[in-house]
């Protein structure tokens, strides 16, 4: 599935845009649990907003970060994402809801 497809269907707000092919999803706010368990080619749902999420995404080859529950990324997070080319969206929807919607679209 394409990142652009979920951006549109879930009406996500763009923080740093981009489009990639991805396969899986993962929800967690503890960074090293994410690093240890997220599969390659995943989207990552979190409420963390600080700059280190960009580093985590880059290190673990995460396709896109969706910041849920109405949280907004810090300013330097946005800067880092632009510099590193990490796709970030945000949404008012709860992580649980976003995960459910993605799951119903076939993302596992």
């Amino acid at each position: 599935m394409r990142i652009s497809e979920i951006k549109e269907k879930l009406n996500l707000t763009v923080v740093n845009d981009g489009d990639l092919e991805f396969e899986n999803g993962y929800v967690c706010d503890l960074l090293s649990v994410v690093m240890g368990k997220i599969q390659p080619k995943s989207v990552w749902l979190t409420v963390q907003t600080h700059k280190n999420i960009v580093a985590v995404a880059k290190m673990a080859e995460i396709c896109a970060i969706i910041i849920c529950d109405g949280f907004s990324p810090d300013e330097d997070t946005v800067e880092a994402a632009k510099k590193e080319g990490v796709i970030i969206f945000k949404t008012e929807k709860k992580s649980f809801e976003v995960a459910g919607l993605l799951y119903n679209m076939g993302v596992k």
């Binding site: 090293s32 690093m35 700059k51 280190n52 080859e61």
Partner: protein, 143 residues
């Protein structure tokens, strides 16, 4: 390519630059044409080791030796060291302060992640001198 040696400084408590050593190392491997799966294992292991210096230790460094067959990485800091290494290696054990937990660190999964993602792992620590984490990523495929 015969052997490439790299060295990066790691600054304690500098969350702004945190991850830059691992990121540089990862880019070097990419340029050298290492397979993506190996690069990912290397990136995760080195990031965890680097963050442990940023979060728990003092200033330190990351040193890497890259050959066509493997990447050897040492992450070394100047203290305070780990009292009980066996305990520190357990999944879920963490002494991270609350302020840092709020940022999502402190799951107690960093050291286990390094072990899981590497082909060789050893940790040496002495209170109060410091900690040395050494791991190897062997190139699995695509030579």
């Amino acid at each position: 390519m015969s052997e490439i040696k790299l060295s990066f400084d790691i600054k304690h408590n500098d969350f702004d630059r945190a991850g830059s050593a691992s990121s540089s190392l990862k880019n070097s491997l990419k340029q050298l044409g290492y397979p993506p799966e190996d690069i990912r294992r290397l990136a995760i292991a080195s990031y965890e080791a680097e963050m442990n210096v940023v979060v728990h230790a003092s200033d330190g460094k990351m040193e890497a030796v890259i050959t066509p067959e493997m990447v050897d990485v040492w992450v070394i800091d100047g203290g305070p060291g780990i009292k009980n290494v066996e305990l520190a290696m357990q999944e879920g054990y963490s002494t991270a302060p609350d302020k840092i937990r709020e940022l999502g660190f402190g799951a107690g999964m960093g050291l286990p992640n390094i072990k899981k993602n590497s082909d060789f792992f050893e940790i040496e620590s002495k209170v109060p001198d410091g900690t040395k984490v050494h791991f190897i990523i062997r190139r699995k495929s695509g030579k």
